[in-house]
Each structure stands twice: as C-alpha cells, then as structure tokens.
C-alpha cells in the first residue's frame, strides 16, 4: 500500500504510513458503500409511470445507528492518531540521547550547525547574525560554541541515532520538510522549535522549504546525507579541520 508514497527513511515513516493507510481504507470503504447505495437507489427508485414515493419523515433508530458508528470510528481513530502524535511531536518526545543539530532558515537558504567534538551546540542569538561572517548568530564566546561547525545547505546525519533539530528563522516563516523522514516543522522567527527524527536508511535526500517564503521559495532546498556513524564521524572531523584551517589562515 505504500508504493505510491515517498520511500520510508526514518522510524516515523512506517507508523505514519500505517495510519494514513488505515484512514484511507476506512474512508474508502465508506465511500464505496455510499456510492453503491446511491447508484442502486437511483436505478431502483427511478421515476416510472405510476410510481409513488414511500412517505416517511425519518427513522430514529437509523439516525442513531448512523450517528453512533462514525462517532465510535472517530474516537478510535483519534486515540490511535493521538498516540502517534504525542510520540512524534509531544513536548517530551525528544529522546534524551538525541544528537543536536541547529537549523537556521533564511530567505532562501538553510544553515546547519553541527556540535563538533563536545556534542553540544553553542548559544545563538539573533543580534549576532552577520551576513557571511556569522550567518546563524552563533555566540563564539560560549565554550560550547568553540568547536561548532556551520555549513550551508547540507544536512548530514548519522543513521540509527535520534537527531534533534533546533529550528530558527531569520526573516519569514519557513518550513523544514524531509518527505522520506515524514518530518515537517515550521521555522518561525522569534521561536526556537525542536523537532526530532531517527534516520533508518543511509542515502541522499532533500530538505524542501514547504512554506511560501518569498520570491525564490522554489529554490530553497538543501541536501540531506544519511551516513553510517563511522562515515559521519569521519566527515565531521574533516569539516572541523577545514573550519580550523579557515580560521587560522
């Protein structure tokens, strides 16, 4: 049933697709039944010479039945769906060991901050934002920020490890969306929003901005690279060395 959806590449994908399919099947069955009934009624009760309509104003029992069945279905769907929602988006849903990555959106690019060797992201502050010099407003006086690496339009994540994205926006509302991860979250100026996911399949994907953000919205995109942990560590070291070289030269 999922062949027509984007490939599944995170732990959220399977349960979300399951939920989607379940709702599609329930509503699909209802749709087919109603349509079959409609077509049958149109044929069976069509106007013919001498035909008289059956006079009735309604039937309370029928009303109760077709009120109760959708109500019960909706309660079940609501509870199932809410369980999933809380697991993915709930305030306390982010696993304690999640690896933090800063994502800063601006017209029309994504800036990713990686925590370097200490595994911690440094403080950011919008007042410190400077074009090209400090695009994300990283506070370099914070010890945790010393080894942070800032990269444009490239999101690298390790496979099989929860990643928590700290979303900020500089100007307008953008939206961080990786279809294969089934993750979508708006980046709102003035807010720090956390969203987490765990990639399951190494490969290359794409972050698309999914909220109209201005003239070049259509080209606001970044590559997502899902590495094995070893590959990821090697890549991070290499980037750290590059950053060091740039700052000393």
């Amino acid at each position: 049933m999922t062949w027509w959806l984007p490939p599944q590449a995170s732990t959220f994908a399977a349960p979300i697709d399951w939920m989607f399919t379940a709702i599609l099947i329930i509503t699909g069955i209802t749709f087919v039944l109603v349509e079959v009934g409609l077509v049958y009624f149109v044929i069976a009760y069509r106007n013919r010479p001498g035909r008289k309509a059956f006079y009735t104003h309604g039937n309370t029992r029928a009303e109760v039945i077709w009120t109760a069945i959708p109500a019960v279905t909706m309660v079940i769907l609501g509870l199932t769906s809410n369980g999933l929602w809380v697991k993915i988006k709930g305030r306390n849903s982010v696993p304690a060991n999640a690896y933090p990555i800063g994502v800063h959106a601006k017209q029309f690019e994504w800036w990713f901050t990686y925590p370097g060797a200490d595994g911690k992201l440094g403080r950011v502050s919008p007042e410190l934002i400077q074009e090209t010099v400090n695009p994300t407003g990283l506070d370099r006086s914070d010890p945790a920020a010393q080894d942070d690496i800032v990269i444009r339009n490239q999101l690298h994540v390790p496979v099989g490890r929860p990643v928590v994205v700290m979303l900020t926006s500089e100007d307008v509302i953008h939206s961080f969306y990786v279809p294969q991860f089934r993750v979508r979250q708006d980046a709102v100026p003035g807010m720090n929003i956390r969203v987490w996911f765990e990639a399951t399949v190494p490969g290359t994907y794409e972050v698309g901005c999914s909220q109209l953000c201005g003239m070049s919205h259509y080209k606001m995109r970044a590559r997502v690279f899902v590495h094995t942990q070893a590959e990821y560590d090697a890549w991070l070291q290499q980037e750290a060395a590059k950053a060091k070289g740039a700052s000393t030269s």
Binding site: L38, A53, H57, T67, M74, Q107, I173
Partner: protein
C-alpha cells in the same frame, strides 16, 4: 387563494416610478442585490479561472512562452514566459479571488439574498439599505483587489493566507502597494460580510411569514441562517487582522514582528479563526440546497429533518473551534494540536448524518432526473459542490405524487404555511 392573487395583481398594476438607477443599480430590492452579487461573483470566477489557467500553464510547460503571454507586461512575463514573482502573484490572487469573491459571494451573497425572503415569505430583507451597503462594499473590495494586480511592483505575493512577516514587510515580499491594497480590500470585504450576515440573521428571526415556525423552515434557509451566524463570528476577526496587517505595512506597528516583541504566529491564529469557519460558510449553504433538492427530486420529505438541522448547527459549531488544524506544524503547543485533531475528527459525525439522511431521502422515493436533482446527486457524490443552475424547485414542482407539495421546499415546511406570502410558498400550496 383568490384574495392573494388579487393582491398580487394589484401590486403588479401599481406603477413603479423609481428611476433606473434606484431600481437596478443602487437598489434595495433583495432580488436585484442577489443578482448584483451573482454578476460580481461570476466576474471573480472568471478572473480566478484565468489566473488558474496561467498557473496550470507554468506547471504543464515550465519556462515555455505562454499563448497570449506576450500581451502581459514585461514585469509579469518576459517574452511570454512567466516570471517567478508573477507566478507567486498568480497563486495568491487566484486563491483570494476564488475563496473571497467567487465562492463566498456566490453561496452566501447570492443565495442568501435571493432565497431567504422568498422562502420565508418576507417582503424583503430586514434592513434593505444595509443590504445595499453590503453589496457596494463587496463591490469596492472586488475593484480594489482587481486593481491591485496592475499596480507597480505587482499584486500581493504572500499566498492567499498572507502569513506574516512575509506579508507585512515589503522588503521580504518584494511587493508593497499590492500588499496594502489586499489588506484594504479585505477590510471592505469584511464590512460587506458583516452587514450581510446581520441582515440574514435579522430577517430569519423577525420576518418569517405567519405560520413559518423555526422547524418548518426549509433546510436551505436553516443552512443560510447558521452560515450567517458563523460568518458574523468569524469574518470580523479577519477584518480586524487585516486592519492590524495594514497598520503593520503602512504605520510600522509590530503586532507580528518578533524582533520588536510581536508574535509571528498571531496572524495565523487570527487568520484561521476566520479561515476554517470560512470552509463551512462555503459548504453549508450548498448542503442546505442539496437537502431541499434531493427531497424534491425524490418526491419525499427530507429524511430526518430535525437531525439535519442539528447536524448543520453541529458542523457550524465544530467548524468554529477547529482552526488550529491548519497549524499542526506551525510551532503551536503540541497539546493544542491534540485537541484540534479531536474536534476536527468529530465533524465527520454530523457530516455523515447529512449524507446518510440524503440517502434515506432517496430510499424508496420516486427519483426525478431533472437538472437540479442531477446536480444535487453529483454533489452528494463528490461531497462538495452545489447545484449551479435552476436552483429553485418551483419550476419543476407538482407532477404525479400527491405528496409533492410537502417535498418542494423541505419536508416539514411549506404545505402548512399560509398562502399569503409571495412566490415560493404560494406556488407550493397551489400544487
């Protein structure tokens, strides 16, 4: 009956000495106003449709010169190839025209004005002059919106939902006068909608013909009545938000600017507090009309009239408290997301009641295949449409069944109503 006919004749014989302008332009007659709304909404439908075709061209043949595209100025299409900024204007204005000026004016402005007094046996709206003002503010709103596409720097470019800060700051959207005209037009639109809603509500409450009790009202009037209440609760919030947005654009206030202590999400809450009820403002009148048409086309009273009324009220109430489901990923508190999800799911219940009652109405009926019924059934099928032509069933009333009279407006309503009111009801009881 003969007295009523005589009265009607006397009314016809009376010479109407109003000038052409008073009669057809600045008219206080609800039928003329309904027709005026009809032409305004059809014009908007044409504009919205032409914009949609340009969007489709860009999607189907990206980067190719559009047929007749050379007629567009260089700021919109360069050598017939649509520019990115013009494409965003197309999307924005298409949504705006269709939602505000095509569908809403057609389903509420036209049908409420034309049908409510006729179906309730009222002489006119409760406040005919306010009714006229309602049309003319909608007209001003439409003209401003249309004009905004031809100003320097182009029309609004922030999508029809106008999310701030993109819509509030000219340096971010690249459009200035267009954005401001959008806000001003929506303020006029809000005024029109409030005046209209007030009128519809007052008319339904005060101007029903003797004998037309609440639960004898046709379902189409019930739907228009509840829609008007919903409109009165929702549209002023949009108009207020548009005033704030206009202040933000021209006076430099900071309602939505987080850099100065504002809140970017505030706009989304205000907008969707209107925007979701809007969905039901658009669908409820259609549902009401389908109810009447299905009853007529099946030659039966509507199945479960009372539950239909409560379903309309239920849909309207729930539709009013679900706006947050447009904001699940907006950064809003996720617990709110849960509550909005539950209230949204609940709307399925009254909606299901309506569909099943339509089915129940057709069950063992004597189903006619006249155009209104075909339209109503296709609406039943798709769940969202409305009969576009020959909406009133009086043209196709009584044929064979002895019960036809009771079915022509709604099961419960018209057969017992007094015959002294104009058109609809008299025709009905005559059948």
């Amino acid at each position: 009956m003969s007295t009523a006919a005589a009265t009607a004749h006397a009314v016809h014989a009376h010479h109407d000495d109003r000038s052409f302008v008073r009669k057809y332009v600045f008219s206080t007659d609800h039928k003329i106003i309904g027709i005026q709304f009809l032409f305004l909404s059809l014009f908007s439908l044409l504009v919205g449709g032409i914009l949609a075709m340009q969007i489709r061209w860009q999607e189907g043949f990206p980067g190719q010169p559009m047929p007749l595209g050379k007629l567009l100025p260089e700021t919109m299409a360069s050598g017939g190839v649509l520019l990115p900024e013009y494409y965003i204007e197309l999307v924005t204005m298409h949504g705006t025209f269709m939602v505000f000026f095509a569908i809403m004016l057609l389903l509420v402005g036209v049908y409420a004005n034309f049908l409510i007094p006729l179906k309730l046996g009222a002489h006119d709206m409760a406040f005919p002059r306010i009714n006229m003002a309602s049309f003319w503010s909608a007209f001003v709103a439409g003209i401003l919106m249309f004009a905004s596409m031809f100003v320097p720097e182009g029309a609004a470019r922030a999508g029809w939902t106008m999310y701030t800060p993109l819509s509030a700051r000219h340096d971010l959207s690249g459009s200035s006068l267009g954005q401001e005209l959008w806000s001003i037009s929506i303020i006029f639109f809000g005024l029109s909608s409030v005046l209209g809603s007030l009128n519809y509500i007052s008319t339904v409450i005060n101007n029903r013909a003797p004998g037309m009790t609440w639960f004898r009202m046709p379902l189409s009037v019930w739907a228009l009545f509840i829609t008007a209440i919903l409109g009165l609760l929702a549209v002023p919030v949009l108009a207020g938000a548009a005033i704030m947005l206009l202040f933000e654009q021209i006076l430099g206030t900071h309602f939505f600017d987080p850099g100065a202590g504002g809140q970017a999400l505030l706009w989304q809450h205000l907008f969707w507090f209107f925007g979701h009820p809007e969905v039901y403002i658009l669908i409820l009148p259609a549902m009401g009309m389908v109810s009447d048409l299905v009853a007529n086309g099946s030659r039966k009273p509507i199945f479960g009239y009372h539950s239909m009324v409560f379903a309309i009220c239920g849909i309207a109430f729930l539709g009013w408290i679900v706006w947050g489901h447009h904001m699940f990923v907006s950064g809003m508190n996720p617990t709110l997301g849960s509550t909005f999800m539950v209230s949204t799911l609940l709307i399925a219940v009254p909606s299901a009641i309506k569909v099943f009652n339509w089915m129940g109405t057709m069950w063992r009926g004597n189903i006619q295949f006249h155009t209104p019924m075909l339209k109503a059934r296709s609406a039943d099928c798709r769940g969202s449409s409305w009969p576009r032509r020959r909406w009133t069933c009086s043209s196709t009333t009584p044929t064979s069944s002895s019960r036809t009279c009771t079915t022509c407006y709604s099961g419960a309503a018209c057969s017992r109503s007094s015959a002294r009111s104009p058109t609809g009801i008299r025709r009905c009881s005559a059948g």
